[in-house]
């Protein structure tokens, strides 16, 4: 007898005629039914995409102890900090999987090496945006896209769900964590000169959102719809008490225009028994009409309200209208006329305006877990950049751009007024050293700190609070702002040189006035100058320079110092040098060194002087 | 052929699957859980008189309709001794209701009539069944008895009593002894010293220089009955064990072991205490090496202690006995 020893692998495909249901039932006793499963083998995907960046940031701060009186600096005048407490990690990996053309998954993973010197190196790992799932479904009457899972960057309409993009009047000297490397190291400044804007990453103008987003596009008659339900970073947290944000948009597009209906609703409960509602509504219509005669009308009009067990003041109006005139033979320069009015009853910190009227919402609505970074906004009567709106305010904004041969000038002017007299406080910033001052406090957003407990830290900035004690009572204040941005391009030794000047001239006074009040009758005067210089020493090396100067003065009826008896009289200076070095393709090294000197001539403890040095290495892949 | 295989398989399976229902059931009977409670036969002892000293035992019978929790309480009519036997069954018999003369609560049973009561720990009845049994001789305990004070004072003992107030040290016969008739009383007020009085039980009382005990101190248990006075809960007793390591007939504290077992009396009434000899700690810094040599025990001393500020103190002892293998089962 021939004995053939045959070995076989038991991963034999099932006999096709057996259906799945009967397999588990009628073949129950079939002896060969047992063994290891699965019986058939499935191949996986061969390709996944991995991209990301590596960013090393080190910061050394050295303050002069003889003149720095901030309590946070007591006895600790020199500080080394490895990393960036602005939330972004050291190594960030974006992993993407696309099983088919209709679905994809992405997740990010970050690693951070704290370099504490410990033998067990303290690595921190985690996700930043989380696991994101995408799906697309195409039909004859439209394409439906779904996003769910982790954090998505989303925009609906400016008043309902978007981030303020402003008028691109900012200094480029200090890099943001999300700033990309450019092909040539100098392109960042060149783009800013040419376009008036930087190439920003996906989050520009958008807000972070977690939940379900459904977009429908290519609908009949050029309609498009989007819907979202979930949480923004303002109502995030893992509390089991429901706290959700729901919004939607229906847009009808025309050849040169569009009109849309938008809504956003936020609701949570103030008690564990989930009976007392807290939240807000905002419903708007957004439209844009481009005429053939070089003007564009854009606007968003709506109504909103806030509700809580203790607050129900009804609905309020919100307007934001812009009329843009392009350059034409009738007017030689583009002009934007903008009118806005947002009722104190309308709140929505997910939009492009801040809530400065309802204190309890500012404090209580966020239900974030410890360890999460809340996003705070200045409260009270805020001095803001032109374009940054707040509620309880209405005003007129004029913007224009003037282009000359090698110089571009943008000028903005704003005259605004509060609607209701609510607050006897003013908040304002210190542009020259704002980022550096915010780094005095790491890993948190403390309020009422500083030598006079009137400094509040927000994301990469601070604002200061000033009290008003007007014998005529609280007024609906007037706000005037003039901003000038001037960008000049030239050459020295055949090398490009850019000069960017940014000036801001602001006043806050008791009543509305179309023209600014630059004297002590104003509650507050704020003048700031920032001058950036960028010189392309070589194709790989750019020398950067910065000079900043602030003057901020408190006027009549503002708080005085007990010792000096004087109002706030603040003067801030900042001088910085830096180098941008392109080490390799997609690899940039950025060095900055800054000298800071700040003094309030009447508030003796409000004083600091020192230096900050940062080294940033950023590599994209 | 194929059909034959087919038929064979069918038949073999059918035949082998013919199982008769079991003639017993799993778990307790449902009647025991849900049925009515009935007493089928009264409570009876297996004998009227029992001689525990000669090794006799007595058991009790009773038939019930269902499994219940029950309690059998045997009470000495003279001594007041109690023996509690509990169980869960529907039948009381030799297996579950056997009495070997031991006691649950002191005192120990004497020659006396004992009342036996059977009660049921169930809501279904509050019936109590009764019977009785006469103890002709109580249970004898195996072991080395140092004393039970029944023979009175032994001249080989020695004693020391402080000259305090109301001192009352001596053998008592007042019907309250936990074992037989006599016990040793220790009472008085000493306001300058912890020691109120002590008694030494010397090995010479047995005509030897050491007590006839096993040398395996891991297997040797010291037992005593100790009285706690509910009115004077401030007594302590120190049992001290002195070993004559060199067998010269005398204990030398400087180079021979003395072990001490101290108890704080925080109970009322008589209580049986027991300790393994090898667990008793050294009382003289292991001057003799610290090794327990129970076979060289020369003297057992009982010291009555009380805080001098606490006033009058009262305790008593009875039935000092060494047992092997296990503590005394009184």
């Amino acid at each position: 007898m021939n004995t053939k020893i045959i070995a076989f692998i038991s991963c034999i495909l099932l006999i096709n005629s057996i259906s799945a249901q009967s397999y588990s039932d009628s073949l129950m006793f079939k002896p060969s039914n047992g063994g290891l499963y699965p019986k058939n083998y499935e191949y996986g995907l061969s390709n996944i995409s991995i991209s990301g960046f590596y960013r090393f940031l080190a910061c050394y701060t050295s303050m002069d102890p003889s003149v720095t009186h901030y309590p946070v600096m007591d006895s600790v005048f020199n500080r080394v900090f490895i990393g960036d407490d602005s939330q972004l990690p050291q190594l960030s990996l974006n992993i993407g999987v696309s099983p088919n053309k209709n679905t994809s998954i992405s997740t990010d993973l970050y690693l951070w090496q704290q370099m504490t010197g410990s033998e067990n190196d303290d690595f921190v790992k985690g996700l930043l945006l989380g696991v994101n799932l995408y799906g697309t479904h195409s039909t004859n009457f439209g394409t439906f896209g779904v996003k769910t899972g982790g954090i998505h960057w989303h925009k609906q309409s400016p008043l309902t769900f978007a981030a303020n993009t402003g008028y691109n009047r900012f200094s480029l000297f200090e890099r943001n964590p999300w700033d990309p490397n450019t092909s040539n190291i100098y392109d960042r400044y060149d783009d800013f000169y040419k376009n008036g804007a930087l190439t920003q990453d996906e989050r520009w103008g958008q807000q972070a959102f977690q939940g379900l987003i459904v977009d429908a596009s290519d609908l009949p008659s050029e309609y498009s719809v989007s819907f979202m339900h979930g949480k923004s970073q303002l109502n995030g947290g893992s509390s089991i008490i429901p706290n959700h944000l729901t919004g939607g948009r229906i847009q009808k597009s025309f050849s040169r225009s569009f009109i849309s209906l938008n809504g956003i609703h936020n609701q949570t409960f103030t008690d564990e028994s989930t009976t007392n509602l807290l939240g807000f509504n905002l419903y708007t219509t957004e439209f844009e009409f481009k005429s053939k005669k070089n003007f564009t009308l854009y606007g968003e009009i709506g109504k909103g309200n806030y509700f809580s067990p203790t607050y129900d003041a009804g609905w309020g109006n919100a307007f934001d209208l812009k009329l843009n005139f392009d350059k034409s033979r009738w007017y030689k320069f583009p002009l934007e006329i903008r009118y806005f009015s947002i009722s104190p009853n309308v709140i929505n910190n997910n939009g492009i305006f801040w809530n400065t009227s309802i204190l309890e919402y500012s404090q209580d609505n966020s239900q974030l877990d410890p360890g999460q970074a809340p996003i705070l906004f200045p409260f009270a009567s805020s001095l803001t950049q032109i374009g940054q709106m707040t509620n309880n305010r209405r005003g007129l904004i004029l913007n224009t751009d003037l282009n000359f041969k090698n110089t571009k000038l943008t000028i903005g002017y704003s005259a605004a007024k509060e609607i209701d007299a609510i607050s006897n406080q003013i908040t304002y910033g210190h542009p020259s050293n704002s980022l550096q001052l915010s780094r005095f406090w790491r890993w948190g957003f403390p309020t009422n700190v500083g030598p006079y407990e009137n400094i509040n830290k927000v994301y990469r900035s601070v604002f200061e609070t000033m009290d008003i004690d007007d014998p005529d009572g609280i007024s609906a204040k007037g706000f005037n702002s003039l901003e000038i941005s001037c960008k000049t391009k030239t050459q020295i030794n055949d090398r490009k040189l850019m000069l960017f000047y940014l000036g801001g001239f602001h006043s806050i006074q008791r009543d509305y006035n179309f023209l600014p009040t630059y004297d002590s009758t104003a509650y507050l005067q704020s003048y700031n100058h920032q001058l950036d210089l960028y010189y392309a020493l070589t194709n790989q090396v750019t020398i950067c320079g910065y000079y900043g100067y602030d003057i901020i003065k408190g006027g009549m009826y503002t708080e005085t110092n007990e010792d000096s008896g004087g109002y706030k009289d603040q003067e801030g200076k900042s001088f910085a040098l830096g180098l941008d070095i392109q080490l390799e393709r997609n690899t940039g090294l950025y060095l900055r060194h800054r000298w800071m000197d700040y003094i309030d001539h009447n508030f003796a403890l409000d004083r600091y002087k020192g230096t900050e040095t940062t080294v940033e290495l950023k590599i994209f892949f | 052929m194929k059909k034959l295989i087919y038929i064979f398989l069918c038949l073999s399976v059918i035949v082998s699957s013919c199982r008769k229902p079991d003639e017993f059931s799993d778990g307790p009977d449902l009647y025991d859980v849900y049925g009515d409670f009935e007493i089928y036969s009264p409570l009876e002892g297996s004998q009227i008189n029992v001689d525990f000293a000669s090794g006799e035992t007595v058991f009790f019978n009773c038939e019930l309709s269902k499994v219940v929790n029950w309690q059998l309480k045997i009470t000495g009519s003279n001594s007041g001794a109690e023996k509690i036997i509990t169980g869960t069954s529907k039948t009381l018999d030799e297996e579950v209701a056997l009495w070997d003369g031991t006691t649950t609560s002191l005192p120990i049973f004497r020659v006396e009539n004992c009342n036996v009561e059977l009660s049921f720990l169930t809501n279904e009845t509050d019936t109590i069944l009764s019977t009785s049994v006469f103890v002709t001789t109580p249970k004898q305990n195996d072991g080395f008895v140092i004393t039970d004070f029944e023979e009175g004072w032994d001249p080989n003992w020695s004693t020391f009593v402080q000259s305090g107030k109301s001192m009352d040290f001596g053998i008592k016969l007042d019907g309250t002894a936990p074992q037989l008739a006599r016990y040793y009383n220790m009472a008085g007020t000493v306001d300058w010293d912890w020691l109120t009085g002590m008694i030494d039980f010397n090995a010479s009382a047995f005509g030897e220089s050491t007590m006839s005990l096993s040398d395996n101190s891991d297997n040797l248990y010291f037992n005593a009955f100790v009285y706690g006075d509910p009115l004077y809960p401030n007594s302590r007793i120190l049992f001290r064990f002195d070993e004559d390591e060199n067998l010269d007939g005398a204990f030398d504290i400087t180079n021979e072991d003395s072990f001490g077992y101290e108890i704080i009396i925080n109970w009322s009434g008589w209580k049986h205490i027991s300790v393994k000899y090898s667990d008793i700690l050294s009382a003289n810094n292991s001057s003799g090496g610290g090794v327990h040599n129970s076979d060289k025990l020369n003297r057992v001393s009982v010291l009555h202690l009380a805080d001098p500020n606490s006033g009058y103190a009262h305790s008593a002892i009875d039935y000092l006995i060494f047992t092997e293998n296990e503590p005394l089962r009184p």
Partner: protein, 563 residues
């Protein structure tokens, strides 16, 4: 004699290899996102929201064409956790598998395994009705979470198999073996416990297959400070003999074996018994299948590889686990309901458990451990109809069983159970291209016992009805609806067991009520393996004899993607 090796791969493909096109790395896995908003009327916090998004990323590495190493990790971020908060990274599974010397197939690590219904099998006995629609989605989720498919159990161990061919005597012999670890020694009084076994499958010819099976749960002596060795052995013979005629196939299959359970320090408590199960069937080419079976599982038959349950009812719920008893304003534990079983994958076990697990008589009282339930004997009749035109499918079975040994009485319980699944593909009626499926699934169980005394009487009936519907309104967009009702009435004497599984008492289980679920939703399929579903559930609990009644409403959005 000449001996030579021949390697036989798949019947349908040659040159099988773990890796394709020489690629050394492949990726498998899935992702899921779930967001819920739930309301339970009498909870202290009645409205609750939650959710998560997770990615299971498995990396298959093929160092050569015959070997594969697979590690899968899970990234889970909690709903509401921003910028890295609420993130967990865990390992989900790890194994290596391959073919050694082109002969032995092995797998080490996580393995999904089964043998026979009486030795090692996952009967999934608490999901008694078949589901499409919203409940089908939930089944999809909890089966994925617990690695359940094809009645297997997930184990941590190793398996090995190979085959032999003796062509002049029999067709071939397949040998399967496995060993897994059930618990680890604590170096004190818990011994290392293993579960091992295997089978030899003899294919006599195309008509007859015989299997010799053996499994054993055993403690490894010397691994702890105890000599109390636990042992549960089951040996059986399985057979499948079929003959083909012109337009039908008929045959007989079944299993016959013995089991033993013992602990070395209490040999008097050992249990030994036998079991028999035989089924004759006839399958017509028209799609009709008839079967008739008998079974006799001894009262002392124990086989924990086959008698383990996926859900233990002796655990607490993971959400809304307490709610108010309004009669006395106290918080009580909310027992696990049928809706919880569909809603919460964490209630499910992945591997086997040693010892009899608690079951819910409302859900399964006749065969609480599947057909491997001990103390059952009787017969059953089954009908399957698989329409060749795919218009209508039917699967039904009726069991008539009884105990072989009474519990607390010599009177025996009688059992009647009927199961029915009927599926209608209604679009076939009008030859529509868009799917319209309706499925009705029903399970009826009845337990009765008459005895000398009233307290011996048992009359307990439970019905479970599951109606599901899927209607394709647009291409790949489905409307779904489900109605699930579980009702029970009557009384049963439920045994209360101690830790040794001995009956020590009884509970008079008395109920008259129901649970009902109405569920509706919409599903958008992006591909065969991915979809988004929005579901709304309205659930009512009305077993007031057990605990306070409540209503539970839930809206959820679930996105499932597999690759």
């Amino acid at each position: 004699m000449r001996c030579f090796l021949i390697i036989l791969f798949s019947v349908f493909s040659s040159g099988f290899a773990f890796s394709q096109n020489g690629k050394k790395v492949q990726f498998v896995g899935g992702a899921r996102s779930l967001n819920t908003l739930a309301e339970l009327d009498s909870a202290s916090t009645p409205k609750r929201s939650g959710g998560y998004a997770l990615l299971d990323l498995g990396i298959k590495i093929n160092p050569n064409s015959n070997t594969e190493v697979m590690g899968m990790f899970r990234i889970n971020n909690e709903y509401g956790g921003f910028w890295g908060a609420g993130v967990n990274i865990d390992v989900r599974q790890l194994y290596v598998r391959g073919v050694a010397n082109d002969i032995f197939r092995y797998q080490v690590g996580n393995i999904d395994y089964k043998l026979t219904p009486y030795t090692f099998y996952n009967h999934n006995q608490d999901i008694l009705t078949s589901s499409i629609g919203t409940l089908g989605i939930r089944e999809d989720v909890f089966n994925y979470e617990t690695f359940y498919s094809d009645n297997t159990w997930r184990q941590q161990g190793a398996s090995l198999n190979f085959g032999l061919e003796l062509p002049k005597v029999i067709k071939d012999i397949e040998v399967n073996s496995f060993i897994s670890r059930l618990n680890r020694s604590d170096f004190n009084f818990v011994l290392d416990r293993f579960f091992g076994g295997g089978n030899v499958v003899i294919n006599k010819d195309d008509n007859l297959e015989i299997g010799l099976n053996h499994v054993s749960i055993f403690d490894l002596a010397g691994t702890a400070k105890t000599d109390n060795i636990y042992n549960n052995n089951v040996s059986s013979i399985t057979f499948d003999y079929q003959l083909a005629k012109n337009n039908f196939v008929y045959g007989i299959d079944g299993e016959y074996g013995v089991s033993s359970l013992s602990q070395s320090e209490s040999p008097e408590d050992s249990l030994t018994d036998y079991f028999v199960h035989a089924r004759s069937y006839i399958n017509f080419d028209s799609g009709l299948e008839l079967s008739f079976g008998i079974l006799d599982n001894g009262a002392d038959y124990r086989s924990f590889g086959a008698q383990s349950r996926r859900v233990s009812f002796n655990q607490e719920n993971n959400f809304f686990n307490r709610y108010m008893d309004l009669t006395n304003s106290t918080e009580v534990l909310r027992p696990i309901s049928l809706f919880d079983m569909y809603n919460d994958p964490q209630l499910y076990n992945q591997g086997i458990s040693v010892g009899l697990m608690d079951h819910n008589p409302i859900i399964s009282s006749v065969l609480p451990y599947g057909i491997a339930s001990f103390n059952r004997q009787g017969g059953y009749f089954g009908v399957i109809y698989d329409d060749p035109k795919e218009f209508f499918d039917l699967n039904g079975r009726v069991y008539l069983l009884s105990e072989s040994r009474g519990q607390g009485t010599l009177a025996l319980k009688s059992f009647l159970m009927s199961e029915l699944v009927a599926t209608l593909h209604a679009n076939k009626l009008w030859k529509g291209k868009k799917e319209f499926n309706i499925q009705l699934s029903h399970n009826h169980q009845q337990t009765t016992r008459n005895g000398e005394f009233d307290f011996e009487s048992v009359d307990f009936t439970t019905n479970q009805l599951n109606i599901g519907m899927e209607y394709e309104v647009f291409e790949d967009v489905y409307l779904m609806g489900n109605y699930l009702k579980l009702s029970a009435s009557g009384n049963d004497q439920m045994p209360i067991r101690n830790s040794e599984d001995e009956i020590i008492n009884y509970e008079n289980f008395l109920v008259d009520g129901h649970e009902s679920l109405i569920s509706s939703g919409i599903k958008m399929s992006f591909s065969k393996k991915s979809y988004l579903a929005i579901v709304h559930d309205r659930y009512q609990y009305r077993f007031s004899q057990i605990t306070h009644e409540y209503d539970f409403n839930q809206s959820s959005v679930v996105y499932v993607l597999k690759f």
